[in-house]
């Protein structure tokens, strides 16, 4: 039995030897003990049929456990009225599950209306949330099928946030949108989470998504076994067994670098007189690399900020014709360059440190 203990902070959700066996005899969740800290993102990850969605749905009693106890905010969920409990917990599902016969605004106002806020107050709150999740105000009057998949998911998130619940359950919320939109939605979620500090439980089968979003990641194996639960860095540095290592993939070293920023990576002045020159505009913002030998040949440059990851630096050092990565400040003005050797050296050291620290 694996017990995941976040160590610090209040615990919001606690699973105590929770077992779920369905009437047809299959075991969905096997003696799970798991703790989720307040204000943190816990990602449940694993291949299909591993019990991660069942685990999530037991938190708001969409599924009741066969044995064991689940506490939310210290209170046993089975002691609470299921509908009341669900109104106090935000719930976002795949394909958004929006009500097709209600406008976007009324969809978002669902839980406030169930809580008896009155139509006016509920709609005002819904309008406020449209902005929070990055939708235009006039989207409120439209119907779900008139929106794109990504916009529908935003509405789904707004609906879950409407009554300002402390806990948010998200069941593969970005599973059905294309990769570009998915990345956007992940960024938005991280931005929102910085503002709102909800306790989020997030189910996905995409390990990259888990590494990006999770404060802690719980990996499940078929049969409902929790294999490992750890921070992303810990997980990538020390997978508990071959199953976890396989699940993390062959590039898990690179994924670890995606968690480190390049702020401390040394940089120097841009060299002059080489085979390639870094061309700047008047504001000293990098434009492109220009070739000395064949005039007119230009290669693109992707300048990196200090908040970008070491993985991005490594990638850019390979893509750059000189092996140099242009570094810029928040305004996009060149601050210096870092060499391929420095980056590689620094990345290797960072990886070792992370492995030891984790």
């Amino acid at each position: 039995m694996t017990i995941c203990r976040p160590g610090k902070g209040h615990l919001m959700i606690q699973f105590d030897t929770v077992h779920k066996r369905f009437p047809n005899g299959t075991t969905a969740v096997h003696d799970l003990s798991l703790e989720m800290p307040e204000g943190g993102v816990t990602v449940l990850v694993g291949s299909s049929g591993c019990g991660k969605t069942t685990t999530l749905r037991m938190i708001n009693r969409m599924v009741d456990p066969t044995s064991g106890t689940i506490r939310v905010g210290g209170k046993d969920v089975l002691q609470q009225d299921a509908a009341d409990l669900r109104r106090s917990i935000g719930y976002v599902i795949q394909q958004s599950g929006l009500f097709p016969h209600r406008t976007v605004l009324d969809n978002i106002a669902t839980v406030p209306l169930l809580l008896g806020w009155g139509r006016k107050k509920a709609r005002a709150r819904a309008a406020e949330l449209l902005e929070t999740v990055g939708l235009a105000a006039d989207a409120g009057k439209r119907y779900p099928h008139q929106l794109s998949g990504g916009q529908q998911q935003r509405v789904g998130v707004a609906r879950a946030l409407a009554a300002d619940p402390p806990v948010l359950l998200m069941d593969e919320p970005f599973g059905a949108v294309d990769p570009v939109v998915r990345t956007q939605l992940q960024d938005e979620l991280l931005r929102l989470q910085k503002e709102l500090s909800k306790t989020i439980v997030f189910v996905t089968h995409d390990i990259d998504e888990a590494v990006r979003l999770g404060d802690q990641i719980a990996i499940f194996r078929t049969g409902g076994h929790l294999v490992q639960c750890a921070t992303p860095a810990e997980l990538l540095a020390h997978p508990a067994d071959d199953f976890v290592a396989d699940f993390l993939g062959a590039e898990r070293g690179l994924k670890l670098l995606s968690l480190k920023s390049l702020a401390d990576l040394p940089q120097g002045p841009a060299p002059e007189g080489g085979a390639w020159t870094l061309v700047l505009d008047e504001a000293r913002k990098p434009l492109h690399w220009a070739s000395k030998s064949s005039t007119g040949t230009e290669l693109p440059v992707r300048p990196l900020k200090d908040t970008d990851s070491l993985l991005a630096a490594l990638n850019e050092s390979i893509a750059s014709p000189t092996g140099l990565v242009a570094r810029v400040d928040a305004a996009g003005v060149l601050t210096g360059v870092s060499s391929r050797d420095d980056i590689h050296e620094y990345a290797g050291r960072a990886h070792t440190e992370a492995s030891v620290a984790a």
Binding site: R87, S88, G97, L98, P100, H101, Y143
Partner: protein, 223 residues
């Protein structure tokens, strides 16, 4: 043939024919009264039944089969049967028309309910709706286009069949058909039949238009 249609034309538009207790206007009113009342009774029986089996998912097999059985019963036979049992009463007509109307409402209501996306029902429960809230706020509104289709189909079927009221001596547009037959007045028979057809078609178009208007925001148009 031409003469017949010319006579039919003047029968339909002559002012005398439209007024009085024997007139077309009165007969149409009677006909609609029988039809609407029968459909209302049928709806009172069939809607709760369809909603119940749709919401619980139980009893569908039995209900659908009973409905088919009701559909297979010959309506005229039923009128005569109830007429023989209950005597000269409008109820014999209503019983027969209700039996005719119930199946389409039950099956369409059930079909509408079972076509509601399970994901949406799941989301409704997940947001904290109780059973009756899921039913009235999500399932019924989403099933409404098909429920209305069932009501419309039944009403049209009842309007077309309500001529049998005249068969057991009551009014309605059937009067012209049965009186015409008795009097060997072909124009009157044709006139009555044409009126029944016109009333049915006009009602059908009007209700279909209403449905299209009510559900104009739905992705799938009303059936």
């Amino acid at each position: 043939m031409y003469e017949l249609f010319k006579n039919l034309g003047s029968w339909l538009i002559s002012g005398d024919q439209w007024s009085g207790s024997d007139g077309i206007a009165h007969r149409i009113a009677e006909h609609l009264e029988y039809s609407l009342f029968a459909t209302l009774i049928a709806a009172a029986i069939a809607l709760p039944l369809g909603l119940l089996i749709g919401h619980t998912g139980k009893g569908a097999f039995l209900a659908i089969n009973l409905s088919s059985f009701g559909r297979a019963l010959p309506t005229v036979g039923l009128v005569v049967l109830v007429f023989l049992i209950s005597g000269l009463s409008l109820w014999s007509v209503y019983v027969a028309l209700v039996v005719l109307a119930v199946p389409a409402i039950v099956t369409n209501t059930y079909a509408g309910m079972s076509a509601v996306d399970p994901e949406v029902k799941d989301a409704a429960r997940g947001q904290g709706m109780r059973g009756h809230q899921v039913l009235f706020q999500v399932e019924i509104p989403l099933a409404l286009p098909l429920i209305m289709t069932g009501l419309r189909l039944s009403l049209i079927q009842v309007v077309s069949t309500a001529t049998i009221a005249a068969y057991v001596s009551f009014g309605g547009l059937g009067r012209y058909v049965f009186d015409g037959l008795a009097q060997r007045d072909l124009v009157q028979v044709l006139g009555g039949a044409a009126l029944v057809a016109i009333v049915a078609v006009v009602l059908d178009l009007a209700l279909a238009g209403l449905q299209r208007y009510l559900f104009r925001h739905r992705r799938t148009a009303a059936h």
